[in-house]
C-alpha cells in the first residue's frame, strides 16, 4: 500500500479509481491491486474503515467488547491491502467523476486544500450508506443528533454523549448502537422504538429465510442484550424534540398518549439508505427500491452502473451490510479487471463463483429486516407543517406541501426553483428522500413517479481558490477557448 499524503503524489492516471475505503472499497482495491492493476483508493476520512469500521486502525477504544467482535473484523480488510501496490489517499475528497473523451473518466479530487484532475480507466464507487433523514419537530436543536454521528464520535474519539440520553427510531443499527453506547458508559434513559407493529405482518413471510441467515444469531443476541439491559419503549407513533435553544426533553406518543422524557441528548436513527450523490451526479441511472424504500443506483450482476466503466459496490448500491459490501467490492473489481482486458471473461467468472456463493449467504434474511424495519409513513413525511425538512435552507414540510399543491410542483427538481431545498451545501443529502415523500403524498403518486434530484458536481464543496489553481491539463491547454 502506498500512502498518499500530498496531492503531488497522486499519479496522472490509474487503471482503477476506487472511491471510499469502507469494506467494499478496501476489498475492491485489494483485489484489483492483487490482479496487478494500478489502483487509487481515495477516502475523505483520515483513516480507512468507512462507516462500519470507522477508525479501525486508530480508534482509542481499546476494550474490544465495547464495539463488539464484528467491528474488529475490519482490521483484516486493511491488512489485506497493506502488502499491495494500491495507492491509498486518506483525507482525499473526490468531488467529480465524469466520462472523458478517451473512453475513461476524469476525476476531480482535493487533498490538503489543493485540487487536481486525474484520469482513471475504470471507477468503482464504494461510497456506502447514509442515515435516512428523520425530520421530527425540533430535530435541529443542539443536543439532537443522528445515532450514526454518535457512533462516529465513539469509534473515532472514544466520546459518549453526556447526561440523560435517549435513542429513538428503528432498525438493527439502533440496537447495535444502543448496546455499544451502554457498554461505553452512556446513561441511556430510554430506547424509543418506532417500528410499526403491522410491519410484522409484512415481514413474517420472509421469516423462514431469516431463520437460516447469518444475521439471526447476531441479531437475536443484539436484541436480547439491548432489551435485557435498556429501558425499551415500543409502539412509538410520534416524536418531538423539546427545548428552546437547546434540547430539554423528548415528547413521545404511544397508544394515543403522550409523555415527555427529560433528556440532554437525543439520538435519532431510522435505518440507512444508499449514499447516491456521487453516482447521481456522475449520471448513473437510479430507481426507487420499493422494499428498502429508497433511491438506489441501478446496477447489473457485476455491480456495473448504467454508465459503462462505473461500478457501484457495497451499500451505495443497495443496503446489504458490511460482509456483503466487501464481497460486492471484489466482484466489481473482477469485472473492472475484465473490462480493462486484464482478466478473460471465463477467468472472471471462475474467480467470482465462490464470492457470489458467499454473497448469497450473507444477503439471506435481508428482506426480513428490510420489511420489519421499514419506517412508518409519518416519519418519512413529517405531518407537522412546522417541521424543518431542508436544514441548509430551512424549508419546512408545510412549505413543500404548499408548493406541491398550490403551485403544482411535480418533482423535487422543480421544487428547487421555488424553495431552494436541495440547493444548499449538502445538495439534498439530508432532505432529498423527505422532499420526495412529501411531494408524492401531496400529489397522490408514487415516489418512483415523483423522481429524485438531479445532482451536480462538485458533490462536496471545493473552494474557488482550489479551482482557480487547478493545474491545466493537457487537454485544457490544447482546447481553444471560445
Amino acid at each position: 500500500m502506498i500512502a498518499i499524503t500530498s496531492i503531488g503524489q497522486v499519479a496522472e492516471h490509474y487503471d482503477i479509481a476506487v472511491v471510499g475505503a469502507g469494506p467494499a472499497g478496501l476489498a475492491a482495491a485489494a483485489r484489483a491491486a492483487e490482479l496487478g492493476l494500478s489502483v487509487l483508493l481515495a477516502d475523505e476520512n483520515p483513516a480507512p474503515g468507512g462507516q462500519i469500521y470507522r477508525a479501525i486502525t486508530t480508534t482509542p477504544v481499546t476494550k474490544r467488547a465495547v464495539l463488539g467482535e464484528d467491528y474488529w473484523k475490519g482490521g483484516a480488510l486493511v491488512d489485506r491491502l497493506r502488502p499491495t501496490n494500491a495507492a491509498y489517499a486518506p483525507g482525499c475528497t473526490i468531488w467529480s467523476v465524469a466520462p472523458d473523451e478517451a473512453g475513461g473518466f476524469e476525476l476531480g479530487l482535493s487533498l490538503g486544500g489543493q485540487a487536481r484532475l486525474i484520469a482513471a480507466g475504470q471507477v468503482i464507487l464504494a461510497t456506502g450508506a447514509q442515515e435516512r433523514p428523520f425530520p421530527i419537530p425540533g430535530w435541529t436543536l443542539p443536543g439532537v443528533m443522528t445515532a450514526g454521528a454518535a457512533q462516529i464520535a465513539l469509534k473515532a474519539s472514544g466520546l459518549v454523549p453526556s447526561g440523560r440520553t435517549v435513542i429513538a427510531g428503528c432498525g438493527p443499527l439502533l440496537y447495535l448502537l444502543a448496546g455499544q453506547l451502554a457498554a461505553a458508559g452512556a446513561n441511556i434513559v430510554a430506547v424509543l422504538d418506532t417500528t410499526p407493529r403491522r410491519n410484522w405482518l409484512a415481514a413474517i413471510a420472509a421469516f423462514p429465510d431469516f431463520l437460516r441467515s447469518p444475521y439471526l444469531a447476531k441479531g437475536l443476541k443484539l436484541m436480547a442484550a439491548a432489551r435485557g439491559k435498556l429501558p425499551f419503549k415500543t409502539g412509538v407513533t410520534a416524536l418531538a424534540a423539546e427545548g428552546s435553544g437547546k434540547l430539554t426533553g423528548v415528547t413521545v406518543t404511544r397508544g394515543g398518549a403522550a409523555e415527555t422524557i427529560p433528556c440532554d441528548a437525543l439520538l435519532l436513527h431510522q435505518g440507512v439508505i444508499p449514499g447516491i450523490n456521487l453516482a447521481n451526479a456522475a449520471g448513473c441511472a437510479q430507481h426507487f427500491d420499493a422494499v428498502q424504500h429508497c433511491w438506489t443506483p441501478t446496477v447489473d450482476g457485476w455491480f456495473a452502473s448504467s454508465i459503462p466503466g462505473i461500478a457501484i459496490a457495497g451499500d451505495g448500491a443497495g443496503i446489504g451490510g458490511a460482509e456483503s459490501a466487501a464481497l460486492r467490492g471484489e466482484v466489481a473489481a473482477l469485472d473492472a479487471a475484465r473490462r480493462l482486458g486484464r482478466l478473460a471473461e471465463a477467468e472472471r467468472d471462475a474467480h467470482a463463483a465462490p464470492i457470489r456463493a458467499e454473497l448469497a449467504r450473507s444477503l439471506r434474511g435481508r428482506r426480513f429486516l428490510d420489511l420489519l424495519y421499514r419506517p412508518a409513513p409519518q416519519f418519512l413525511a413529517p405531518p407537522a407543517d412546522e417541521t424543518i425538512v431542508c436544514r441548509c435552507e430551512e424549508v419546512t414540510a408545510g412549505q413543500i406541501r404548499d408548493a406541491a399543491s398550490r403551485l403544482g410542483v411535480t418533482g423535487p427538481n422543480q421544487m428547487k426553483a421555488f424553495l431552494r431545498c436541495g440547493m444548499g451545501p449538502c445538495q439534498g443529502r439530508l432532505c432529498g428522500p423527505t422532499v420526495v415523500e412529501l411531494i408524492a403524498q401531496e400529489r397522490g403518486v408514487s415516489a418512483e413517479e415523483t423522481g429524485y434530484y438531479r445532482l451536480r458536481p462538485p458533490v462536496k464543496p471545493v473552494t474557488l481558490s482550489e479551482l482557480a489553481a487547478l493545474p491545466p491539463t493537457d487537454a485544457a491547454i490544447k482546447a481553444v477557448v471560445r
Binding site: 466520462p99 427538481n413 451545501p425 445538495q427 464543496p461 473552494t463 474557488l464 482557480a468 487547478l470 471560445r482
Partner: protein, 375 residues
C-alpha cells in the same frame, strides 16, 4: 394519453420560456393552444440558465425584442401572477483597461445614434460606486440600469401555469416525432398520438433543427452546453450583475448571498440523453477570472456546477419569425445563450404575428431565410 383536445388554433412545440410565453400570449389573444413538451416545462435551457435579464451589450438586431421584453419583465407579476424572483439592480459591463473602455464608448455612441438609450457609459468613480468590490485597476464601463436577474425555472413555470389557467393545454412528457402537412392543417405526431393545428410554433430549443429539417428548412444549429457555478452564501458585497467583454465572465450575487459565476464557457452536451459533461479545465479559467477581479471571493466554496443544453446559431442570433417555405409555421429558437431575457417579449411578438400577421416590433435580421441554402 387520450384525454384532452387533439386540435387547436396553435400548437407550440417546446416548453421552454419561449414556448410557454408564446402559449400564454396566444391564450391572452383568445387562441386555443396545445403546448407539447418532451420532458417538463423549463427542464432545459430555460430552467437552468443564469437568470440574467440583460439588455446590456445585445446585438442591435435583438434590441427591439429585448426592449419589448424588458417592459414585460418590469410588470412580470401582473402578467404571470408570480414575481419570478425578478430583481432589477442593473447590469454592468466592466472595462478592464483603457482600450476596453474605448470600445465601450464607441458602442454607446453607436446605440445613441440608433435611438437606443438603455446603455450608459460610466467612469471609474461610478463603477466603484456600483461595484465597490471590483479590482481598482478597472477604468469604467457601461451600465444598463433597468437590467437584473430572475429565477429561471420559476419564471418558466409561472408562464406555463398562467397559460394553463387561461385554457392552454400543456402536455408534458410528450415528444414530437414528426411534423407534416395534413390538408390545411399541420399534423404533429408524437409518442402519444397525433395533434392537428393550422399553425405551429417551433420553439424546441436545442432540438429545433430536427423540426426544421422535417419542414425542409434545415438550419446550421449547434448544440452547446454553457456552464455555471454557484458558491455558498457570502457576505453581501455586490448588487448589479457584472459582465466582461475581453475575458468571459458573468457574475451575480443573489439576495441569499450565493454567487453565480458564468460567462459562457462550454461543456459537452449529449442532447439525446439530456445530459451534459462539465469541463473543469475551463471552469478553472472561469474561477481564475473571479480570483483576479474579486479578491473577496477567493475562499468561497463552490457548491455546484452545471451546464444546460442550448441551441446556438453561427451568427449568435436567434431564428425568429415566419417560415419562408410554409404557411402557418413559425420559428422561435437558436437563442445562443442569451434568450432568457427575450422570452416574455418574444412570446408577445410571436403571438401578435400569429394572430394578426405582423408586428410593429422590428425583427429584421432574425429570419430563418438567412440560412436558406442557395437554390
Amino acid at each position: 394519453m387520450s384525454e384532452g383536445r387533439r386540435s387547436a388554433d396553435v400548437i407550440v412545440i417546446g416548453g421552454g420560456i419561449h414556448g410557454c410565453s408564446t402559449a400564454l400570449h396566444c391564450a391572452l389573444r383568445g387562441l386555443s393552444v396545445i403546448l407539447i413538451e418532451k420532458d417538463h416545462a423549463g427542464r432545459h435551457a430555460s430552467g437552468v440558465n443564469a437568470g440574467g435579464v440583460r439588455q446590456l451589450a445585445r446585438h442591435v438586431a435583438e434590441i427591439p425584442l429585448s426592449n419589448t421584453s424588458m417592459a414585460l419583465w418590469h410588470r412580470i407579476e401582473d402578467l404571470v401572477d408570480d414575481d419570478c424572483g425578478f430583481t432589477s439592480d442593473g447590469q454592468v459591463l466592466v472595462a478592464e483597461d483603457e482600450e476596453d473602455l474605448g470600445n465601450c464608448r464607441a458602442r454607446v455612441d453607436d446605440l445613441t445614434l440608433r435611438g437606443f438609450h438603455h446603455e450608459e457609459l460610466i467612469d471609474a468613480a461610478e463603477l466603484r460606486r456600483l461595484v465597490p468590490a471590483v479590482s481598482d485597476t478597472c477604468p469604467g464601463g457601461v451600465v444598463s440600469r433597468r437590467d437584473g436577474a430572475a429565477i429561471p425555472l420559476r419564471a418558466t413555470q409561472a408562464f406555463k401555469r398562467k397559460a394553463q389557467s387561461l385554457g392552454a393545454d400543456i402536455r408534458e412528457g410528450v415528444r414530437v416525432t414528426r411534423v407534416a402537412r395534413d390538408g390545411s392543417d399541420w399534423r404533429v405526431e408524437t409518442d402519444h398520438g397525433a395533434f392537428l393545428a393550422p399553425r405551429i410554433v417551433n420553439a424546441a430549443g436545442a432540438w429545433a433543427d430536427r423540426i426544421a429539417a422535417d419542414l425542409a428548412e434545415p438550419v446550421p444549429l449547434e448544440v452547446i452546453a454553457p456552464m455555471l457555478m454557484i458558491t455558498a452564501a457570502m457576505p453581501a458585497f455586490i448588487k448589479p450583475v457584472v459582465i466582461l467583454r475581453k475575458r468571459k465572465l458573468s457574475f451575480k450575487q443573489f439576495g441569499n448571498g450565493t454567487v453565480l459565476i458564468g460567462g459562457g464557457y462550454l461543456g459537452r452536451a449529449i442532447r439525446d440523453e439530456n445530459r451534459t459533461v462539465l469541463d473543469w479545465g475551463k471552469l478553472a479559467t472561469n474561477a481564475k477570472t473571479v480570483w483576479d477581479l474579486f479578491p473577496i471571493m477567493r475562499g468561497a466554496p463552490i457548491l455546484r456546477a452545471w451546464a444546460g443544453i442550448e441551441a446556438r446559431m453561427p451568427d449568435d442570433l436567434p431564428v425568429f419569425g415566419k417560415s419562408t417555405r410554409h404557411e402557418g409555421v413559425y420559428h422561435q429558437f437558436g437563442f445562443s445563450a442569451h434568450g432568457f431575457q427575450l422570452g416574455p417579449g418574444a412570446g408577445a411578438v410571436m403571438a401578435e404575428i400569429i394572430a394578426t400577421g405582423s408586428s410593429n416590433v422590428p425583427i429584421d435580421g432574425l429570419g430563418i431565410a438567412r440560412f436558406a441554402a442557395p437554390s
